[in-house]
Amino acid sequence: MAYTEEELKKELETKEYEYGFYTDIESDTFPVGLNEDIIRKISGKKGEPEWMTEWRLDAFSSFKKMVEPDWSNVKYKKPDLQKISYYSAPKQKPKYNSLEEVDPELLKTFDKLGISIDEQKKLSGVAVDIVMDSVSVATTFRDTLAEKGIIFCSISEAIQKHPELVKKYIGTVIPPRDNYYSALNSAVFTDGSFCYIPKGVRCPMELSTYFRINQAGTGQFERTLVIADEQSYVSYLEGCTAPSRDENQLHAAVVELIALDDAEIKYSTVQNWFPGDKNGKGGVFNFVTKRGLCHDRAKISWTQVETGSAVTWKYPSCVLKGDNSIGEFYSIAVTNNFQQADTGTKMVHLGKNTRSTIISKGISAGKSQNSYRGLVKVGSRAKNARNFSQCDSLLMGNNCGAHTFPYIEAKNNSAQVEHEATTSKIGEDQIFYCNQRGIDTEKAIALIVNGFSKEVLNKLPMEFAVEAQKLLEISLEGSVG
């Protein structure tokens, strides 16, 4: 008999989370709970200067006055923030001088993730910073980068070594009180990546950060700050995985990008946190705030492939403050089983001749819910602002949902805004056509889904694109075809 819809569905449901292993590394983990003492302890543990501790406490006092938002189209049991441990670090030497010093268990972890640090170092020339349970464990290629004056390190290190840069920019794009989770992150973030590209420098390689939650009962609150000085360029990659666990883990990151005049930042994410099992148990709550600020003629481009997490709540945004600046958002969000994703972007046009493009592809399968939520705002001074948005949804099976909630606000008569959205399913005629050419149904679906997502996949850096395609297949199929 042929591959029936039923069988396909079953197969989709039984797919396993490939990255669901746990690495047995001794960790230094704080007791659970959230209060000023914990925050002081985090700050102390990291040997932070006084201003940073104060900054955190300030954020915490804002946080205490805020309530968890509930406007998004996702339903979940709100995490108990008092039951989370806010600090968990692999118990090893505080810092590694070279990869040889890294715990071999840890290196194995990265091998399993498909990040062979060594190989990447040699072959693709990607500089990697790895953050495990919120602490940066290894940064490769520092010397090569340092020659160009590029700073690429953990944010903890940056606070120590480049306090003037951190102090000047942290919280300027996303103020701690911006929202509930950004306030929480500002208070308790334990690590993350920092990157500064000096004036006129084109970063010679992709910079990459891998995030992994390992310990049980920990939350991951990393903080990323990327500053591209005038006329500089950087392409930044971010990958995320977590072990399979019964309980939900919380991930509340903050990413701030600053592109000064004529600078360009390309920020790509492949998010594959544990999505929960096929009954919807466990999985990561991914509540992330990402925003970039463009000065004159600067460009920020967000590309994301979101296949993981039980609940995703994420809107990488661009504030186009400078004249002639450009914002882009390319997104693929795949949800399966009981996953819920509410994702999209905000393009805020403030400067003259600002342009933005939004391409969003949502794929829902199983019993999942997939929403696009976006805002295009054209301020009254944003003469000749242009936006084009396209949101396409693909539904697989009849137990999932695909939703589109665009908000379009134009206060300028020279603005041109265009929004289009479509919803479709994979045609049986398409599958039969592929079958007739000898391609089985599973592979045919992968092929069609890849085709559907192509405009976004094309925006990813080469080595990420391959990984992303693979992820799409894993997320939607029984096995990699």
């Binding site: 009254s380 265009e418 929004h419």
Partner: protein
């Protein structure tokens, strides 16, 4: 929120000559409690994000006009579709005007809501249809329900084609310094029947008027309802129109909304389906200037397979005017083979004009064709230049292009005299004489 208090405390006066034990009155009393609890919506409500009622409800209004104002036919004739024979249900300051009206009970009922609510012969219809699809939760609808007493009542029995269009017009005479009106209409179109309805709210003097209107429309199997809303009021008048439509299988309901005037207009248009192969049409043209504000909030709930809906709203905004489009398509899991389309196109003519658009799709079925599109832009300068190079003056050229922009909404207007009228209004609004019909 003093006015809210007034609405609640004045309720005793409203109840005075009503049968308090009547089931209709139970419904009213219940609705008042909903309004009392919820109050007026604010910008914090997601569906009122772009429209504030603050300025409107922080004022005082007369709830019961003091005297029966009378108006001369010659003064208001221009508001009628005078070159077409129509049924008319006309109200002045919320009070029925027999002199201006032309009702009927001959084969169909075109009459008064007050009669329908009280006369025994309509009791069954009222029990079946009154307040059955109007929202029980939405506070403005609840407010209207609590004060529901007068309006138009239309009943078209099976296999009946209403030979004349029905005009429902609410005049505000301006006798009161400021007035709050709450008309309530009920329209029931039985199987295989057809009717055309034109609804209009018109102030005659520059005194503040707020109308909070609720209309329930029931469209039975194979029936066709063709509904036109003309909104071209004075800038002292505001309107909150709540229209609820329920369609049975194989029916077609079409609503055209022409928003060309008024201070603040909010159109809540909701469609519900009870069977398959239903067609729902929602179209609108909005042309605003000054500080006018129009908010179209639409919802089509696809709850059965094989149905179709088309939404097409065009907006042209000049000076400091504001347009809002808040459109929702909801497709249930069971509603396979749904075709739902939504289009919202806007042109901003001046620097201070604003458009906020929120076209939403919520889809739970996989075998559907749903799409929406939204654009905000300007007049095509190249086309404008082309017209001018052919000798057409700029103003006329702009008007011509405005027509072209709004045309696919206009061309589906089924009543020729109405179409002509709307064309004329648009031309006047643009300050041009095109010298030909479009």
């Amino acid at each position: 929120m003093e006015f809210k208090e007034k609405l609640i405390s004045s309720y005793l006066a409203f109840e005075e000559d009503l049968d308090l034990l009547d089931s209709v009155h139970q419904t009213r009393a219940k609705a008042l409690r909903v309004f009392e609890k919820k109050g007026f919506p604010t910008k914090k409500d997601e569906s009122w994000k772009y429209t504030s009622l603050n300025a409107l409800v922080n004022a005082d209004y007369a709830l019961f006009p003091r005297s029966e104002a009378s108006i001369e036919l010659k003064d208001v004739k221009k508001y009628f579709l005078y070159d077409t024979d129509t049924y008319k249900v006309i109200f002045i300051d919320g009070v029925y005007s027999p002199f201006l009206s032309n009702t009927t009970h001959d084969g169909l009922d075109v009459c008064l809501m007050s009669a329908a609510l009280t006369k025994p012969k309509y009791r069954n219809l009222i029990n079946t249809y009154f307040n059955k699809i109007a929202s029980l939760e939405e506070s403005l609808t609840a407010l209207n329900t609590s004060y529901s007493k007068e309006g138009a009542f239309v009943y078209i029995p099976k296999k009946t084609v209403a030979e004349k269009p029905i005009e429902i017009i609410h005049f505000a005479s301006g006798e009161e310094h400021s007035l709050w009106l709450q008309p309530r209409n009920l329209i029931v179109v039985d199987k295989n029947s057809q009717v055309q309805i034109i609804e209009r709210h018109q102030s005659l003097k520059e005194h503040p008027v707020v109308t909070n209107s609720v209309t329930e429309v029931y469209v039975h199997e194979e029936a066709f309802v063709d509904y036109y809303k003309l909104q071209n009021d004075l800038t002292s008048a505001s309107l909150i129109d709540n229209t609820y439509i329920q369609q049975a299988k194989n029916s077609h309901a079409s609503v055209h909304t022409f928003s060309l005037g008024g201070k603040l207009v909010r159109n809540n248009l909701r469609y519900y389906h009870t069977g398959q192969r239903i067609l729902s049409t929602l179209k609108g043209v909005t042309i605003l200037e000054g500080k006018q504000h129009v908010d179209h909030s639409t919802m089509v709930h696809h709850s059965h397979p094989n149905c179709e809906s088309h939404q097409d709203y065009k907006g042209i905004f000049s000076e400091r005017s504001e347009g809002v489009f808040n459109g929702q398509i909801l497709v249930d899991k069971i509603a396979q083979k749904t075709n739902a389309f939504q289009q919202n196109n806007n042109v901003l003519l001046d620097d201070k004009a604003t458009v906020n658009s929120k076209p939403q799709l919520e889809i739970y079925a996989d075998d559907v064709k749903c799409s929406h599109g939204c654009t905000i832009g300007q007049m095509d300068e190249e086309a404008l230049f082309y017209l001018r190079s052919r000798g057409i003056p700029k103003k006329e050229a702009k008007a011509l292009m405005t027509y072209a922009f709004a045309n696919n909404v206009l061309e589906s207007v089924q009543l020729p005299s109405l179409k002509k009228r709307i064309n004329g209004q648009i031309a006047r609004k643009l300050g041009v004489n095109l010298g030909f019909e479009l």
